[in-house]
């Protein structure tokens, strides 16, 4: 006799995770290597500023919006912040997740308690829903958004929602919900290299290039 819920969990943790890991790691590397090797032409103009330093600096400084930006796009910016921060607190500071990362990479760090994790999760989900709303309602974003963008945002919210439901046993069999949680992460990993989720890696490159282009001219970035 089998426990179908447990079998699903084991499938999600086992073979499907392996497939997801393969697609994720290989896919991300393909895309990053593809960009890096493409390279750019040597710039013959005499640098006025410090392109390399400013490029590196911009990777960090671009995290903060320019004055006035929040007022113009409160949902996108505040929602974006809360979603990202919440997502990463829930992802990186929840001890079972740390255990997973430790298992994969050998790296480990202290986690935080359930109140923080669940608070972050709830806020991230609310923020994610707000981002979905503004994508749907705001004409600019609506015009830019493809069905893949909606899909990616929803897929990013599913691990948060399923994880919360599973840990709190809100409904469904907890093992089944845990299986759904892992399954949702597997799916997220699989779609990752093919979608805009790639920004999680390439943003640093983009910011660097932006900073170095501006920095060469001694301009702000």
């Amino acid at each position: 006799m089998n426990n179908p819920n447990f079998d699903l969990l084991m499938f999600a943790r086992g073979p499907l995770f392996d497939i997801a890991l393969l697609v994720f790691v290989a896919g991300v590397l393909i895309r990053v290597v593809e960009i890096l090797i493409l390279g750019r032409k040597k710039d013959f103009s005499k640098a006025k500023g410090q392109p390399v330093q400013q490029g590196i600096k911009t990777i960090f400084t671009r995290t903060f919006p320019r004055p006035g930006a929040i007022k113009a796009n409160p949902i996108t910016i505040v929602g974006g912040y809360v979603f990202h921060i919440g997502f990463f607190i829930a992802f990186l500071l929840f001890v079972p997740h740390i255990a997973l990362i430790e298992e994969l990479t050998g790296l480990s760090w202290p986690g935080v308690g359930r109140v923080v994790i669940e608070g972050a999760t709830v806020l991230a989900v609310i923020a994610g829903l707000a981002l979905l709303y503004t994508r749907w309602k705001d004409p600019v974003r609506r015009k830019l958004t493809t069905w893949v963008d909606y899909l990616v945002l929803i897929l990013s919210l599913l691990p948060l929602i399923t994880g919360y439901v599973a840990v709190n046993k809100l409904f469904g069999d907890p093992t089944f919900m845990m299986a759904l949680h892992v399954l949702s992460v597997d799916i997220l990993m699989i779609v990752f290299p093919f979608t805009k989720l790639m920004h999680a890696f390439t943003f640093a490159m983009a910011r660097y290039y932006n900073g170095s282009i501006q920095g060469r001219k001694g301009a702000e970035s």
């Binding site: 013959f44 996108t76 790639m198 983009a206 290039y209 282009i213 301009a219 970035s221």
Partner: protein, 420 residues
């Protein structure tokens, strides 16, 4: 050898590099670039969202520069770029973008959208979709010596005027001097006072300079059209003249895109470093100020504000220099909202001003400037780009606003210390 879709697509293909690939990989369609765009701000039309204006470049990148895109193509999911695509993009790439660079500053993932617009224009122009007015200017500049046609006589006359006004000798084609001065057609035709102003300042500061009769034009319509061959051809004239005259430095005048074209694009267009340096006139004036060679007396009591030309400040890094200079001569200097790095475009840069089809967009865009000026209510607007100067002057007049516009170099010359 005429423009074709294939030539356009090939030009786009040539433009894809690691920065472009990283930018498109990173865009999350957040739409924050829209609010940075003066055309979106004033029309609220979502089609003007900056990142949408580079869609064809994105498609070339995806189809031809990504493994996944290639696979998509193989199974028939890619979409080829057609004549209609280019036609559709014209008004987005040329009419509703002044390449002001505000979108580049706000993009949270750091995409340099402005740089990609420049690249888009390579494809557009190669495909035969550049605005006719700019193509006309390119023809005139190619056969003549400025986008306004042959200005040899005009510059001679203006230099004569300047000599007569100031009593200072201005020599053409004098080899071995420190600086080669080049001018924008706008200055020669509309604001020639700047020649006398430079003569006075340089005379006081002991700066040796000359004007090349073969290459006195600083503007480069090739950069505005977005065609590297045309741009290279035009910039080569200045490079050759400067190297022939063996000057130490070339002074980029009060002109936005000329500064980009000569200082930042030029060496890459010709594929080598220059045998001289390029300095912007305001950088030079600020340097003279620091060295104590530029002294002024008296101050303008008018309420003065400053308009930052996008290509010189935001995209050129010259931000504090004009303010230091202006503070020497302005008693009542007030900044507008967003002044400095995030200043709004005059509404007609990047070739928009010459493009008749874009007239209504330009007028709409100026309304933002208008509101900002009205808040400050200055008597005078000072700037450091002749084309901004020209645009603001005309737009202020169209909007019945009685505000004077002045160039910063002129303004400095006006208050030059009279020590003898």
């Amino acid at each position: 050898m005429s423009a074709t879709v294939e030539r356009g697509v090939n030009a786009l293909r040539e433009q894809v590099d690691a920065p472009v690939a990283s930018f498109f990989s990173s865009c999350v369609s957040c739409g924050l670039c829209a609010d940075a765009c003066i055309f979106f701000q004033e029309t609220q039309d979502p089609q003007y969202t900056p990142i949408r204006k580079v869609e064809l470049l994105r498609r070339v990148w995806e189809n031809e520069y990504t493994l996944f895109g290639r696979v998509k193509n193989m199974v028939g999911l890619g979409n080829r770029i057609t004549e209609e695509d280019f036609t559709e993009m014209e008004q987005l790439v040329y009419d509703s973008c002044t390449m002001c660079g505000r979108c580049t500053m706000v993009c949270p993932v750091g995409n340099d959208i402005t740089m990609m617009i420049r690249k888009m224009r390579e494809g557009m122009s190669a495909a035969g979709h550049a605005p006719v007015e700019l193509i006309g200017a390119a023809k005139r500049h190619t056969t003549g010596n400025s986008p306004m046609g042959d200005l040899s006589k005009a510059i001679e006359a203006q230099v004569k005027h300047a000599i007569a006004d100031t009593g200072i000798e201005i020599a053409f084609d004098k080899p071995g001097v420190d600086y080669l001065v080049i001018l924008s057609a706008q200055e020669i035709a509309e604001y020639p006072e700047v020649i006398g102003a430079m003569a006075q300042i340089f005379d006081k500061a002991g700066v040796t300079w000359t004007i090349a009769s073969e290459a006195f034009e600083a503007t480069n319509v090739g950069v505005q059209i977005g065609n590297r061959d045309v741009a290279k051809y035009l910039v080569t004239r200045v490079v050759e003249a400067a190297e022939k005259l063996k000057v130490k430095k070339v002074i980029s005048p009060e002109c936005g895109h000329a500064y980009q074209a000569l200082r930042w694009e030029g060496p890459n267009l010709i594929g080598r470093e220059y045998g001289f340096e390029v300095v912007h006139i305001i950088e030079l004036l600020d340097q003279l100020r620091a060295e104590g060679k530029l002294k002024t007396s008296g101050k303008d009591s008018d309420k003065i504000t400053f308009h930052d030309p996008c290509q010189i400040n935001r995209r050129g890094g010259i931000n504090k220099e004009p303010r230091r200079l202006l503070n020497m001569v302005a008693e009542n200097f007030v900044e507008t909202e967003d002044a400095g790095t995030m200043n709004w475009c005059c509404s007609a840069g990047g070739g928009v001003g010459a493009n008749e089809r874009a007239g209504h967009l330009k007028d709409a865009a100026f309304q933002l400037k208008k509101r900002q000026f009205e808040k400050v209510a200055p008597d005078k607007i000072v700037t450091m780009c002749a084309f901004c100067h020209h645009t603001l002057e005309n737009a202020l007049e169209d909007n019945d606003m009685d505000i004077e516009v002045a160039g910063l170099t002129e303004m400095m010359a006006e208050y030059l210390e009279d020590e003898d």
